[in-house]
């Protein structure tokens, strides 16, 4: 279990020390403390509105902290942007655009110095390499809207991988995709190619986390627990995160769903 005393270990890549984020009057995350060492694969779990996306946005430098500190390799998130690849939730992307798979992946190579660039030749090799890593090289010319949910997620993963960042943040990577596609993505995440990468995945699936991730961060506005999934995912922690559903079944009969 992470404590305030041991978060600043020498190998820590990401250190959150009492991190708070506020939207107006509402506290989205409160006093979240943890540290992550390089190369770890972390599941971030918790209920809707529990602060998973807020934490990711804070890590990506998209929103400021209201108090506490968040360091990425010793730097503030705004200064560490080059170290992070961020895959936002699918509904924050504009799917009206009829883009090819390679166009989307190429966005990972686009930065503020990308001007007047229509010649993709120098990027083709990198794009193909990245698509090959996620196993969809044969789809490079296809319209991303015509792919399955799992394949779309792989394209977004390829777009993140082409940036060659040390840290990958995948927000709700498994939403609306089937179990097989989830397994495929986990195989890529845990594959030898990404051994050195530190990867955080926000997910609602808390089953068998110990098989897929090194550590789990349990969030419900505050940090309920952080550590080895086998050790920290206790009944108490799950109840702290999701609340007890017991009362839903009180006096449960047809036409009456209890209080």
């Amino acid at each position: 279990m992470t404590t305030k005393e041991n978060i600043y270990e020498s190998e820590s890549l990401i250190v959150s020390d009492g991190c708070c984020v506020q939207y107006g009057e509402a506290l989205a995350i409160d006093d979240v403390t943890f540290s992550i060492t390089k190369g770890k694969k972390i599941a971030v779990v918790g209920p809707n509105g529990g602060g998973k996306s807020t934490l990711f946005k804070a890590l990506a430098g998209l929103i400021p902290l209201s108090s506490g500190s968040l360091k990425i390799d010793g730097l503030d998130p705004l200064k560490a942007k080059g170290m992070i690849s961020y895959i936002p939730q699918k509904d924050s992307l504009n799917w009206n655009f009829q883009l090819s798979v390679k166009q989307v992946v190429e966005m990972g190579l686009t930065d503020k110095s990308t001007l007047l660039s229509f010649n993709q030749k120098k990027n083709v090799e990198k794009i193909n390499e990245s698509l090959d890593q996620v196993g969809i090289l044969d789809k490079s010319e296809e319209n991303i809207n015509n792919l399955s949910g799992g394949q779309q997620q792989r394209v977004l993963l390829a777009k993140a991988l082409i940036q060659d960042s040390n840290i990958l943040l995948l927000d709700e990577a498994f939403s609306a995709i089937d179990v097989g596609a989830q397994e495929d993505i986990m195989k890529i995440i845990n594959g030898s190619d990404l051994k050195e990468k530190t990867i955080l995945v926000a997910t609602h699936d808390i089953n068998n986390l110990e098989d897929k991730f090194d550590e789990v961060l349990c969030l419900n506005r505050h940090c309920c627990a952080f550590g080895d999934p086998l050790e920290v995912l206790t009944e108490e922690v799950i109840e702290e995160m999701y609340g007890s559903h017991e009362n839903m079944f009180l006096d449960h009969k047809p036409g009456s769903h209890g209080s």
Partner: protein
């Protein structure tokens, strides 16, 4: 016979000027239209056109022409609308609607109060046959600026339009890109005020782009086809209006609508995944 129908109108200088204006406006609007429809910004573009009215009223009062006022009015309106929409507490559409109607009403009141001589019908529906050399110069300059910005910033604008959060994390200046696109869109809209007018500019902005989207599979192809449709609609509208003695702006709009109908009929149903 057909060649006579096409060539005859252009024995007059005013028709050649109208042709140049029609082609440049057609390309400018149909290019910007592809981004506009995919970003659901049609209402914003319409508001930009209408919100220029008070600036035009005051400008004409001080002796400027509508073309001369276009670019400064576009920049002011784009920045103002962009700022309001970003900081709104009542929703984007509602804010745009309030600004749209307020500015349009203010424009009419100013025209009356300042006793400005403006042919309102020309301003609302366009009067391409009246474009002079200065207008052509300004329309050409706006065409070059708008297309130049799109070419230079194409990949950044596309990234920002598809994945704004990802673009920000990647270090793109998303605030700059947002205002750059709004100003470019606004410049494209005002460049066509003389051609199709405040009310019909929206049709030339979104209809060629929407038609193109129906029959293409990629965004790049949709830009190419949209430009072709923009030129066809503008030029065909101009020629038809000449032969049938019809108003030019509405003729261009109706040709664009016809192209849309044909595209709709010939398009294969797309499987929508979400």
């Amino acid at each position: 016979m057909i060649s006579e129908l096409l060539i005859d109108p252009f024995q007059y200088d005013f028709m050649i000027r109208a042709l140049i204006a029609a082609i440049f406006c057609g390309v400018t609007l149909s290019t910007l239209g592809t981004f506009t429809i995919n970003r659901n910004m049609g209402f914003m573009a319409d508001a930009m056109a209408h919100a220029t009215l008070p600036i035009i009223a005051v400008g004409v009062f001080f002796g400027f022409s509508i073309s001369e006022l276009g670019a400064p009015a576009a920049i002011v309106v784009a920045i103002f609308l962009g700022f309001i929409v970003k900081n709104t507490k009542i929703g984007e559409d509602t804010s745009i609607g309030i600004i749209f109607s307020t500015f349009f009403a203010l424009g009419f009141i100013l025209i009356k109060l300042l006793n400005v001589t403006i042919n309102l019908e020309d301003l609302l529906f366009g009067q391409i046959l009246a474009v002079n050399r200065t207008d052509i110069f300004i329309i050409t300059a706006l065409f070059l600026i708008v297309i130049g910005i799109i070419i230079i910033f194409f990949k950044q604008l596309l990234f920002y339009s598809f994945d704004p959060l990802g673009a920000e994390v990647k270090g793109l200046n998303t605030n700059f890109l947002n205002y750059l696109f709004l100003i470019t869109l606004s410049l494209a809209v005002v460049s066509a005020l003389q051609t199709v007018g405040i009310i019909l500019v929206l049709s030339m902005l979104i209809i060629p782009a929407a038609s193109a989207k129906l029959i293409t599979n990629t965004f790049i192809d949709s830009i190419k086809v949209s430009i072709a449709f923009g030129i066809i609609s503008s030029v065909a509208g101009l020629v038809i209006s000449y032969h049938l003695d019809l108003p030019t702006g509405p003729s261009m709009s109706l040709v664009a609508s016809t192209v849309f109908l044909l595209s709709y009929i010939s398009s294969k149903p797309k499987i929508k995944k979400r």
